[in-house]
């Protein structure tokens, strides 16, 4: 009797639940039908980097080099259209489908359907007010020039004549480059392409792709269009020359070449520790905690590495992250090299107090080589000073602390770690 009663109750709950879930799905479907389908695709896959408004300011945007595209300006690097005109739909679809090599943009080819990619491209275009104001003017691409030693030699002459080495270096990998730091139109950091690493060319590495980059330029970056400066033949020769610069990637190297490659990498790191340190700080993700963010997780303007993100570790207290900039009063400006290295590798602060083993992962950082540690310190010394006085860590009220520890150690409940938006520090005037 009780069994049937219980079964009936379950059946009742099941029916109600199905009705509720079905109704909900029906309602959301109506919503999706009313909105452009492209927006739904965009909201599901693009927001993390390009931001909800398409300004290229998603939660992950601030840590990526190059920064994600700001769609509201309608400027695109990878085009097959004449300089000064917008990209064709095929260009945009191609970039979404293939991804942009050497950046965080993945190829969505098999992840999204053709319809979805088409829809999202239309939606992205609609984010720019300039969209449709000017027609795309496709470049009439000729047959090109087949690569030959003569063409490559002529391409090298064109490389010198057009002063490509000023940014890309005489050898295509930055050696002897006059300009070494770059900004795009949004004043965001950029790198000049290493022309010996074709797998990092954003728009692809065929001679046709490279020809198009010369011909149309990369809008929004210091890479200009050479349509007026070079002849058609010169641009194809140049493309053949750049293709010829490509070196073997590590996944095709034999043992001797791998050894040589890593020796070269180490020598390069030693020769330019600041650059190596910058790379390590970027890849280790120091900025993910040591930069305060807003509620949408965007880094507060000008506060990269300035500390002040509040991390609450229950029951141990509130731990605002430290200011890593070179500011003397509030940052690392006054710390000795050894003090900086000690906190990175042992978690011991300047006053001798200790950090918990997380979220500051000094255990892992202690496995860094001495050279890499020196490089990190060398780079942190060059981070522009931002005055942001971060308060010391605070402990909760003693009984709360003891109760939390009791819960954690005896009752076995998980201690939460909570990350807060906003700056817990006191921001001073910028210097």
């Amino acid at each position: 009797m009780t069994l049937t009663k219980r079964m009936r109750r379950y059946a009742c709950v099941f029916v109600l639940q199905t009705a509720f879930v079905g109704g909900l799905a029906w309602l959301t479907n109506i919503g999706a039908g009313a909105q452009p389908r492209g927006k739904a695709v965009y909201d599901a896959h693009c927001v993390e980097c390009h931001g909800a408004s398409g300004k290229g300011d998603g939660p992950s945007a601030a840590y990526l080099i190059p920064r994600p595209r700001d769609f509201t300006t309608g400027k695109y690097k990878i085009r097959s259209t004449e300089s000064g005109t917008p990209p064709s739909d095929e260009d945009l679809i191609g970039s979404v489908r293939r991804g942009l090599y050497g950046t965080a943009m993945p190829g969505w080819d098999r992840l999204l359907s053709d319809t979805e990619i088409g829809d999202v491209v239309q939606y992205v275009k609609s984010l720019s007010p300039q969209s449709g104001a000017q027609p795309a003017k496709p470049i009439a691409i000729g047959d090109g020039l087949p690569s030959s030693p003569a063409s490559i030699a002529r391409g090298q002459q064109a490389y010198d004549k057009l002063q490509c080495g000023k940014c890309h270096g005489t050898d295509g990998r930055g050696t002897g480059a006059v300009a070494t730091t770059f900004e795009d139109d949004w004043r965001m950091p950029l790198r000049a392409a290493d022309l010996t690493e074709p797998w990092t060319f954003h728009g692809g590495a065929t001679s046709r792709d490279i020809y198009l980059r010369f011909r149309s330029g990369m809008t929004g970056t210091p890479m200009p269009s050479f349509a007026d400066a070079a002849s058609e033949a010169e641009m194809w020769d140049l493309a053949n020359y750049v293709v010829s610069l490509g070196r073997k990637p590590i996944w095709s190297m034999d043992a001797a070449e791998v050894q040589q490659f890593y020796t070269h990498l180490d020598a390069k790191a030693k020769a330019d520790p600041v650059r190596r340190g910058a790379q390590l700080v970027d890849t280790l993700g120091c900025g993910l905690c040591h930069s305060p963010v807003d509620q949408e997780k965007r880094v507060l303007p000008g506060m990269r590495l300035a500390g002040g993100m509040l991390i609450r570790i229950v029951p141990f207290g509130d731990f605002p992250t430290g200011n890593l900039t070179s500011d003397k009063a509030t940052g690392l400006g006054d710390w000795t090299n050894d003090e900086i290295k000690r906190v990175i590798t042992k978690g011991i602060l300047r006053d001798g107090s200790r950090l918990l083993p997380f979220p500051m992962d000094y255990g892992s950082f202690s496995t860094l080589t001495p050279d890499d540690l020196d490089a990190i310190v060398a780079y942190l010394r060059t981070v522009p000073a931002v005055s942001n006085k971060v308060p010391a860590a605070s402990r909760p009220f003693l009984p709360v602390y003891l109760w939390g520890k009791f819960k954690m150690l005896i009752l076995g409940s998980d201690p939460p770690m909570v990350f807060f938006a906003g700056n817990a520090g006191a921001k001073g005037t910028p210097r």
Partner: protein
């Protein structure tokens, strides 16, 4: 006599409570290992690459091992035993749970196990997660949970080295539940919270 007993019991109770409080206050919070040795233990736990026969692959895997240990993959992708992290199950996942307004995420199994790890994932699929946070089902990982925006700055060749090393790990069957929706962060001003300390994989 009764009065004396009462007093004695009271004093005893106070001593026990205070003693227990002091015990709670002074006991090391997470690990018995001193913090200085902590890093060494983590580095030693990463399987060596000396048993790889091909010298080119060995050199690349060594680079990958350096990147994996220095970049603290084990910080989230550890597997907990009864006494804290079980380092013999290197990178089998499950130790950390993140709750965000966008869902609940448990650290994944990174060993090359066919069923529960990355064994069936192609190199490109693994690299795409490290470069773009994008999983084979098209969802994009939250950059402050899985710090892929940081790993995106690795060179493609370093990313390759990491994948070569992950493929060399001992495969461990440890199924991790898929990300779940719901469980919004309820603390005002918080952007996310996570729970350390318990194994969230299903045995």
């Amino acid at each position: 006599m009764k009065k004396f007993l009462k007093w004695a019991l009271l004093v005893l109770a106070v001593i026990v409570v205070c003693g227990f409080g002091a015990f709670l206050y002074f006991i090391p919070p997470f690990f018995i290992t001193p913090p200085e040795d902590f890093g060494k233990a983590l580095a030693d736990a990463a399987p060596p690459v000396t048993d790889i026969a091909d010298p080119a692959q060995r050199a690349i895997a060594a680079r990958g091992r350096y990147l994996v240990t220095t970049h603290g993959c084990i910080g989230c992708h550890a597997t907990n035993g009864s006494q804290g992290p079980d380092l013999t199950k290197y990178l089998a996942g499950g130790a950390l749970k993140f709750q965000t307004p966008h869902g609940t995420f448990i650290s994944r199994n990174l060993t090359p196990d066919q069923e529960t790890g990355i064994g069936r994932r192609t190199d490109d699929e693994v690299k795409r997660v490290l470069r773009s946070g994008t999983f084979p089902d098209g969802h994009v990982a939250i950059g402050t949970v899985m710090p892929w925006p940081a790993f995106s700055n690795w060179t493609e060749e370093d990313r390759h080295a990491v994948v070569v090393y992950l493929r060399h790990l001992k495969p461990i069957a440890h199924r991790i539940p898929d990300p779940a929706p719901g469980n919004a962060v309820t603390i005002p001003g918080a952007i996310e919270q996570d729970y350390a300390g318990r194994d969230y994989g299903i045995k």
